[in-house]
Every structure is written in C-alpha cells, then in structure tokens.
Amino acid sequence: MRTALVLVSHSARAAEGAAEIARQMAPDVWVVAAGGADEGIGTSFDRVLSALEGVFAEGAPGVVVLTDLGSAVLTSQAVVETLDDDLAARVRVPDAPFVEGAVVAAVEAQQGGDLDAVAAAAIAAGAQFATTTTTSGATGDGAADAGLADAGTAHGGAGDDVHRETVTLRNPLGLHARPAALLARAVTDSGVAVRIGGADGRSVLELMALGATGGQELVVEARGPGAREAVDHVTSVIEGGFGEA
C-alpha cells in the first residue's frame, strides 16, 4: 500500500477541495480530508486523530499530514504526540504549502515514494513554485525556452547519446494539472530522466509551471540507455492529447 495523506485545514471544504485535486492527480493514493471543527472554522483534534487511526487501520505504511495555518499545525503535532511511538514514527507533518504540497505529495506517493520521500516532495513544492514563478516572471514568455537552453548546454558535450523529439501539444488547455500529472507518471514509469520543454518530466509542478498551451511545441529529450524508448513513449502520450484533444 502507498503512503497516505491527511489534509488538515481550518475549513472542512478547503480540506475536501484540496483532497479532490490531489486524488485526481493520484487515483491510487488514500487522501483523507480532516478539516474544520464542530463549531465551523477551526481544527479538531478528534477529526485529525480519527483520520490517522483510519488510514493506519487500513494498513497505510506511513502518513504525511499537510496543514494550513497556525492551530492546524499545532493540532496535528499534538495528535502525533499522543500516538504510540511506533505509529508516531510513521507520521510526518512537513512544513509545506497546503494545496501545492498536497498535490506534489500525492503524485510522489502515487509513484511509490516512501514516507520521507513524500514529505520531502511536499516541502520542496513551496520552493519549487516560488523559484519557477520568479524565473518565469524574469524572462517573460521565454521561460520554457530558457529551461531548454540550460538542458541543451548540460547535455551539449554528450551530443550523440541524447535523443530528442519535438512534439506539438494537441489539447487546447495544454499542460494543466491533470495532463501534467499523467505526463509526470509516464516519465517516472519509464525510469529515464526525460526533460520536457526544459523541465524535469518527473515533476508535476515544473511541468505545470511551463504554462504550455495548445499548439505549443515542446522538445522532449533524454540521454543514455532507454532514452529513445522513453522519449517515444512520452511523445506518444503528449500526441494522444490526454483524452482532451
């Protein structure tokens, strides 16, 4: 069984909404919403505790808890402190953004990441989004090209063992959340470090940050053993239009 997620927000609906997004990206990951309090806005010790007990009872090897503000963090940590030591050792409450962290953590869990990998992915989500947003702001609409140039330089010396294909995005909305997750999964499954438009193909956030829309051309590239098969596979996934074209 995969690492599970528990989402703790001051609002029951915010937690459920974030869980909804995460589940779409990662259909096989157990994502439990534990938001709100009995009196409405707030966080509830009992709700968080039963969410954790629930996922452990179902056999989750580990649980990553994502929180929004203030008391959501305190409540989640307090719940962990009351658990038996062997269960507490299987919980992480990373300092991560709520929605972005949930999405990235869910994708990492879907790909089989263990407790620490999923927690680390959630933490990285904040920095990742901040960095890519800054880069894209600094270079305007050339962000994707800039990434490509970097990748080209990095691989430049090797030349002949780099396999590269150019593909056109067919679906009008381009690499929004769902296609980005599908693509990240395809790249991870291939076991090859495929770059798409200069972005790390395994990272759903980097792919989304490309802001690539329908009709845009993307360079898909990889190097080393299995590069050709991986690039061909990723290219065919993009050409398939993600069921939206």
Partner: protein, 218 residues
C-alpha cells in the same frame, strides 16, 4: 498536605472553578489583542475535564494518569492554539509524574516538562508575550527553590508567584508570536491572556494543596 492523587484531582477541579470565575476577564483580555475566545475555550475544556473525572469508576493510581486525562480532554475540546498548547503541557507533565505522590524535585520536573511542551508546540521564547512568559519564570523559580531545600509545596508556591509576576510583565511587551503579533506595537499595554490563564492554573495547584475543600463544578 502531600501532593498526591487526591491533590491533583482537587487541582484540576479548582482550575475549572477558577477559569469559570475568570472567564469574562480572560475573554476581555483576549478581545484586546486576540480573537476573544480564550476564556470561553478554556472554560469549555476544563468543564469537560471535570465531567470525565466524574465518570471515572475508580480513582487513578498516579498523578500522571490525571494529567494525561486533562491533556487529551483539552486537546479535543479547546479550539484554537490553546488546546494543543495546554494539552501538550499536561501531556509532557504526565510523562514525568507516573508517581503516587510528588516530592520537590518531581514538582520541578513537572513544571519544566510543561514548559518544554509549550515551547515545543508554540516555538516561542521569553519576551514574546505568550504563555512562555509565565511558564519560564515559574520553572526557573521552582528549580531555585528546590535547590535551596524547599518542600514540594514551597516549590509550587515559588512557581505560582513567578508565573503571576511573569504574566504581569507581559503588559508592556509587544507580541511577536501568535495572533496578537498581527497587532504589532498595538499589542503593548494589554496582558497576554495565555500568560494570565497559566498563572491561574499554577495558583490553583497551590490552593488545592492548602485548602482541602473541593470546589463545586462550575
């Protein structure tokens, strides 16, 4: 009077009574610099604690059993940050009081564990206008008293006195942690409600040891 299980039972019931008595005052303090729910939340929490104490079919064997019951009840009934903060304080205190009776070093250990719990959860240090400003001097005073050969009750009294002085000392402070920090300079001139309630809790521990009367449920 010894600090035994009967004492800790009286301490908890007296805390509930004192919080009920000061409910409006705590709400008022919190309304000045917070969201005004501290008095109400604590009142609800300790009322629930007394309810659970009353439900026990046999008396707990150790001090820590009662403190753990307080911890889990407060965590699940007190909203906002106060629930996890007080809950963790009692939980950590429970872990070092698996004893039928407390001597002076055990009282020091209990108060220090409570302080550590609050610091671990809230990440605050002294001077930030929080509960820590009551608990930190209380722990230091308890330690000094015990080192000077004070009895368990004298250690408790030293802690309560220091917590009260610590709460008063939060008046001019500018909050840099918690919700009051949103007010910045405007938070100065008001006592921190968490420090104020902490002083009430520690004073109730002393009263419970000197007055055998168990206050009625609030």
């Amino acid at each position: 009077m010894t600090l035994d299980v009967a004492w800790v039972d009286r301490w908890v019931r007296r805390t509930a009574a004192v919080v009920a008595e000061h409910r409006v005052e705590l709400i008022e303090l919190d309304r000045q610099i917070g969201d005004g729910d501290h008095g109400e939340n604590l009142h609800r929490g300790f009322t629930a604690v007394v309810g659970r104490l009353d439900e026990l079919t046999e008396p707990p064997a150790q001090i820590g059993d009662v403190l753990k019951l307080v911890a889990t009840t407060l965590m699940s009934t007190v909203g906002g940050a106060a629930g996890p903060l007080y809950g963790t304080a009692y939980l950590r205190a429970a872990k070092v009081t698996g004893l039928p009776e407390l001597d002076a070093p055990a009282v020091v250990a209990m108060i220090e564990a409570g302080l550590e719990g609050i610091v671990a959860r809230g990440k605050a240090t002294t001077g930030e206008k929080t509960m820590v400003d009551a608990w930190s001097p209380a722990a230091a005073a308890a330690q000094t008293a015990a080192a000077g050969g004070a009895t368990a009750l004298e250690v408790l009294e030293a802690a309560a006195n220091a917590a009260e002085a610590g709460a008063v000392a939060t008046d001019p402070m500018v909050a840099t942690k918690g919700r009051a920090s949103y007010l910045g300079e405007r938070s100065a001139g008001h006592r921190d409600p968490g420090a104020a309630s902490s002083a009430l809790v520690l004073r109730a521990a002393v009263t419970a040891a000197t007055d055998p009367v168990v206050p009625a449920a609030p």
